[in-house]
């Protein structure tokens, strides 16, 4: 009788923490233990007593990769509870946000998390050495998804407000920054709250 065990204490290239243990006897899997040792943050309980205004800002931080989905889900739940209907524009903008999130997380998943397995390399960085063109394309695609979510996509109307293409650092800060000042001057979608 042949016995084999497979033990991966830290599962790599996934978001979150976990390990797996598999026991194989005579080419038959006898035991599989998946251990998820993610620490609990208890967001559900921490939310109690919070004001509705604060919920989205807290919930979006549940998960980094799908923060846009958490934002939209939290807002929809609150609107449902309060009987609020949003405008078509808001609805469409949320759709755009979610599409940006999908592009970003799928590109991340394909190129950085899954593809290295198919090429038998430990990470996207090694993959970049053998397939520079493909990896660069994947990272550009991921960046597009991020820029859609950040509202800093290169389109003619915002190009003039973006910082000149200087050092890497200034380019990054320009792409992190909310869209240019012309946009803010034209319209303020958040009018003063009566207090």
């Amino acid at each position: 009788m042949s016995k084999r065990t497979l033990s991966i204490p830290h599962l790599g290239r996934v978001e979150g923490h976990g390990g797996i243990y598999v026991r194989i006897e005579d080419d038959e899997v006898r035991e599989v233990n998946l251990e998820v040792y993610e620490g609990s943050r208890y967001y559900e309980a921490l939310l109690r007593g919070k004001h509705v205004d604060d919920v989205q800002g807290i919930i979006t931080r549940v998960c980094a990769i799908c923060s846009a989905s958490h934002t939209v889900a939290a807002l929809m739940a609150l609107e449902d509870a309060l009987g609020i209907t949003v405008s078509t524009r808001t609805h469409t903008l949320r759709g755009l946000l979610l599409l940006g999130s999908t592009i970003e997380s799928h590109a991340l998943h394909i190129f950085a998390l899954a593809l290295p397995d198919f090429f038998h390399v430990p990470s996207v960085l090694e993959l970049a050495a053998s397939h520079p063109r493909e990896v660069t394309f994947g990272l550009k695609l991921k960046q597009l998804g991020n820029r859609i979510q950040e509202g800093s996509v290169d389109v003619p109307s915002t190009r003039s407000t973006r910082a000149s293409e200087g050092s890497a650092a200034s380019r990054t800060s320009a792409s992190c920054a909310p869209s240019g000042r012309n946009w803010r001057r034209r319209s303020n979608p958040w009018p003063a709250r009566s207090s």
Binding site: R61, A64, P122, A168, S170
Partner: protein, 265 residues
């Protein structure tokens, strides 16, 4: 000289700061040319978890016994240790209600049957071991991360603006959320670096980057009260991020007194 060995680690958290490193799409491949990333569970399989590291980045809070042991093992093998993000530096959102016993929270979320969970009060990683550098932000700013990494690789110390978010907000010519809109905005107490992102989008600062050096909480609270904002509203906003710091300053005691007095909520 061989490339410096780097490890990137996550304790309990959302992995947002590690994701921000992956989000440096334009720079990622050049970073990989200058350093040798040997241990990064989120982005690598086949990690070397024993080699001594020249630089280690740690994000997240210590919320389990396992986190604490992991953090200590990382410290033991690293020459330069960097805390990434508000969770690691100040405690962030997971630490916002540390006055509640974990058993109560566990029961509320998982009901019965989750007693096996390894859980402890959520505290910043910086509470347990010494760190050479601290980079707050929820998540961290990419340009700050790149500047810090560059400085470490050059053997220097990065220079960051030691000013509050208000400073950046003014340079963007925003209307003040406190003066004009009578909202609780944490901008005056919070470290700049984000380009005043929230106020620029019409949302008051939530303080997600943690306190600036020597924040004047008293003056800020007086300023809010002068505009007719109640204690409960002030505390509500201020206790969300970096709560452990603010709680230490007695904000929570004041809040409880106000509540006992029947303050407006």
């Amino acid at each position: 000289m061989s490339a410096p060995k780097v490890g990137i680690f996550g304790l309990t958290g959302c992995a947002g700061d590690q994701l921000q490193i992956l989000n440096c799409e334009d720079e990622l491949l050049r970073i990989a040319e200058r350093v040798e990333i040997v241990d990064w569970v989120m982005a690598r399989s086949q990690n070397d978890s024993n080699t001594p590291l020249d630089v280690a980045f740690v994000e997240g809070v210590v919320a389990t016994e396992r986190d604490l042991a992991y953090l200590k093992s990382i410290r033991a093998r690293s020459r330069t240790l960097v805390a990434l993000g508000t969770c690691a530096v100040w405690g962030g959102l997971p630490a916002m209600r540390n006055e509640l016993p974990r058993e109560v929270l566990r029961r509320e979320v998982y009901a019965g049957g989750a007693e096996f969970l390894d859980t402890r009060e959520a505290r910043p990683a910086t509470d347990f071991v010494p760190f050479e550098f601290r980079l707050p932000g929820c998540p961290i700013e990419r340009h700050e991360f790149l500047r810090l990494l560059n400085a470490i690789l050059c053997g220097g110390k990065p220079e960051f603006l030691n000013v509050p978010v208000c400073w950046e907000c003014k340079t963007r010519e925003n209307l003040c959320r406190v003066v004009h809109y009578k909202e609780v905005c944490c901008g005056a107490m919070t470290r700049a670096g984000c380009g005043a992102r929230c106020p620029s989008h019409g949302v008051p600062c939530a303080g997600c980057r943690g306190p600036v050096e020597e924040p004047n909480y008293d003056a800020n609270i007086t300023m809010f009260q002068d505009r007719g904002i109640s204690w409960v509203e002030i505390a509500r906003k201020m206790e969300a991020f970096s709560a452990p710091v603010w709680m230490k300053l007695g904000l929570e005691r004041e809040h409880a007194r106000e509540r006992a007095r029947g303050g407006r909520s």
